[in-house]
Subunit: 469 residues, 2 copies
């Protein structure tokens, strides 16, 4: 890239353009066009997530985009939280619609009236569905591609349970699936229970998956919510138990957006461009013929044969037979994050060998017949190095502060997550924000540690503070 | 089903509800909810289509939902054709938007301004992209689930070419891909070049894929359009050729909607419910343990082992171990279109045999060790029988008429496609519609036959007439 990653914000803008991720020149602000390479990576991320959900009892579905105003407004906190940002359809052709229709900003108000029809008895529970769709918000803040926009590509899961315990357990399962998902992307996350003032509108509590970005700010890349029976009361979802008695249900919902793609780019990328773990690389190994004049045909034939063997064993492979220099090809695919290239030249051909080079620079000359196992092994090892490197970076940016002044200095120095004490009062959270330059992100999943409030000095709990995107 | 297929319209409504395809009780008219089984079948259809497009040089992308009014209105015929049916977003929260935004009724006006930025030189051509999204129309006519609605799930492909010949060739390739797609669904189609008055707004000409429905009406289930340079002139898409000279481009677009799902249900279904070709069956073989009291564990273990072997060889398999009678299980899966069930009882267990039964009633007792090949062979043979049966039905409903009276009688008797002569005048087409009860659907792909106009008697060409959905 022309811009080094140390200048993150501009590097990011260059990369998403130069590496064919999105085109931001579309005429509606905050609605980028996904280019083929970007869309392929994103779809690989979401297919993996969909697979994880399908194999844990979630059924994939599709619910409509539009919700009538009266349905949308039923849950009081929810409408308060989303109402101002909703895009409204008011006309069909020239004709004014009888009822305004909202573009889904999330699908609770669309799904739950249907759940009320679907759930009748205990035999219908648990109910678990998910869908991959776009949601819409009238963002008035500055937009940033794949981070904040008006059209958000995401997967949302919604579940219904007979008891509070089942519901609580589902929150854990949801969080577990998401942890596996981010592991698969080699992205370390902080799983934090948000403070009450930052809980999803209509939820009992919210867990968030925060990713540390290179500029020290954090990106909320996934959330899991315990909705309790707040929505089910409003949308009248009940079931008859084994004794025929009507009971209320308990619900959860969780979502991951296209921010998984911006996280991937931001966390793993380097000065050369994007770096992809093999799990979501549209091409895992690109085979490049290396010849100077003679022997071209034989080498090309060999390249195709090797690519066929790799492809048959599940490696996403491509032969780059374009009429340009090998160096240009390496540069092209490296910048787009392809995890490995395979070089085959005249000497390799004669010796029945291949040269395997990973995106992070490991090089190995291997026997042609061992290609499949070596490629798999080197890709897996590189994925592990990516995760290790990112994890170390996160660990290096977990610090703690005893005073607001110290917090402010740490945030100004390099950001990251800073552990502080907090008394649970919103006005102290505001003070932390104003005087310390960081927001309360929450407590760590499953941990409960005491800590004196950094703002008022009262007894409280240890929480992580950070500056969020 | 309670209703026989001979009563098609009511049978269809019963099937899509009873077999978990869609739920039509959602509060916005013409926007059904896809239930898990229906969504799985539809996604299998579209993944196959996406695969066919990806492997023939089309790149999958995602373009935004919303298009500003001024962009949308640029192509005069296009806006005339779509303008009245468009849903408009006018407000964000309480605030009125500066420019109205249309929900895409199709994506020409969204993609082509971007193509104008992407296409610079001959090296950028051909450009071929596709996307699977929902499109929106403010339907004022009666809606019917998966046939006519306000939210239409579809795949649309758009291509750009340097020459008129390349463009023409792409139309053929598009039509060829769609033919393969419908073959894969075992659905015979009539590929007809629509008359000028029924051409896509903004196109030079349109080819349509018409499916014969059980009630004798026809369903347009796919279209391929030659757009020539009508759109590219308006959206200013040009390229510099090898000599550096600026040239105009030529374009095509083609789409297939969720009508492929209603076609599947309508064409293959029977009194027992849905019938699915194995290519798009979410479960291809359901394994059912048959026991009466003792030996339950051993049989269940065997069922799971057989299912694992089948699954490892690419058969989508499920063991139905629910605590209900085998007969209920057969009924359940047959009604949902599962192409085969595998029975394993105590005698089969002892003899190391399996009983394979196809959806259309072929039964075979096979050696356990030959399960994989037998299952594959029987599924393939059944798919061929489905196609053969549907093709025969279509052939039996291709007839011809010499007079409007005769046409009217044929249409009243059982509908289908009726070949007539037509002079190419729109007013004669209207007469055919009013007095003959059928619309001009067009000429057969690649065929040119003369025929005296059934309405005015002048020289003309042979065209197919039918009553369309």
């Amino acid at each position: 890239m022309k811009i080094p990653k140390s200048n993150f914000s501009e590097w990011y803008n260059e990369v998403i353009d130069a590496c064919d991720i999105v085109d931001i020149r579309y005429q509606v602000k905050g609605m980028p066009v996904y280019k083929p390479w970007g869309f392929k990576i994103m779809r690989l991320c979401f297919s993996q997530l969909e697979g994880m959900l399908n194999s844990t009892g979630h059924d994939q579905t599709y619910f409509p985009l539009l919700v009538p105003e009266d349905q949308f407004g039923k849950e009081a906190e929810h409408i308060k939280g989303f109402g101002g940002d909703v895009l409204w359809v008011t006309h069909g052709g020239e004709e004014k619609l009888e009822r305004k229709l909202a573009l889904r900003p999330t699908s609770e108000t669309i799904m739950y009236p249907m759940f009320s029809l679907w759930v009748r008895s205990h035999a219908d529970l648990p109910l678990r569905v998910h869908q991959t769709v776009c949601v819409y918000r009238h963002e008035t803040k500055a937009t940033k591609p794949l981070i904040r926009g008006r059209e958000v590509y995401w997967n949302e899961a919604h579940t219904v349970h007979a008891t509070e315990e089942d519901c609580e357990q589902q929150v854990c399962q949801g969080a577990h699936i998401y942890k596996q998902f981010f592991d698969m992307l080699a992205i370390p996350v902080m799983i934090l229970k948000r403070p009450p003032h930052d809980t999803f509108p209509g939820a009992v509590y919210s867990m968030a998956f925060d990713v540390l970005m290179p500029d020290g700010k954090t990106l909320q890349a996934g959330t899991v919510h315990n909705l309790g029976s707040k929505f089910s009361k409003v949308y009248d979802i009940t079931y008859s138990d084994v004794h025929g008695q009507m009971k209320e249900v308990f619900q959860t919902c969780y979502g991951i957006s296209m921010r998984c793609l911006s996280s991937l780019i931001a966390v793993h990328g380097d000065d050369k461009g994007i770096v992809l773990p093999s799990t979501v690389a549209p091409i895992q190994a690109v085979v490049v013929p290396v010849f100077f004049g003679e022997g071209k045909e034989a080498i090309l034939t060999k390249c195709k044969a090797v690519a066929d063997i790799l492809a048959a064993k599940g490696v996403r492979t491509r032969v780059d037979d374009r009429d340009i220099r090998p160096g240009e090809k390496y540069y092209h695919w490296e910048s787009r994050g392809v995890p490995m290239h395979v070089e085959i030249g005249p000497r390799d051909l004669a010796a029945k060998k291949l040269v395997l080079v990973t995106r992070d620079g490991e090089k190995k000359v291997v026997e042609e017949e061992k290609a499949v196992e070596e490629v798999h092994a080197m890709l897996k090892a590189q994925d592990a190095r990516l995760f290790e490197k990112a994890t170390k970076h996160l660990q290096d940016n977990l610090r703690s502060a005893k005073t607001l002044k110290e917090l402010k200095e740490l945030m100004a120095e390099k950001g990251g997550f800073v552990k502080i004490g907090w008394c649970d009062e919103e006005k102290c959270a505001e003070k932390v924000e104003v005087e310390g330059g960081a927001a309360i992100m929450g407590t760590e999943h499953g941990k409960m540690e005491k800590g004196k409030c950094i703002a008022c000095g009262k007894a409280g709990t240890a929480v992580w503070a950070a500056k969020a995107y």
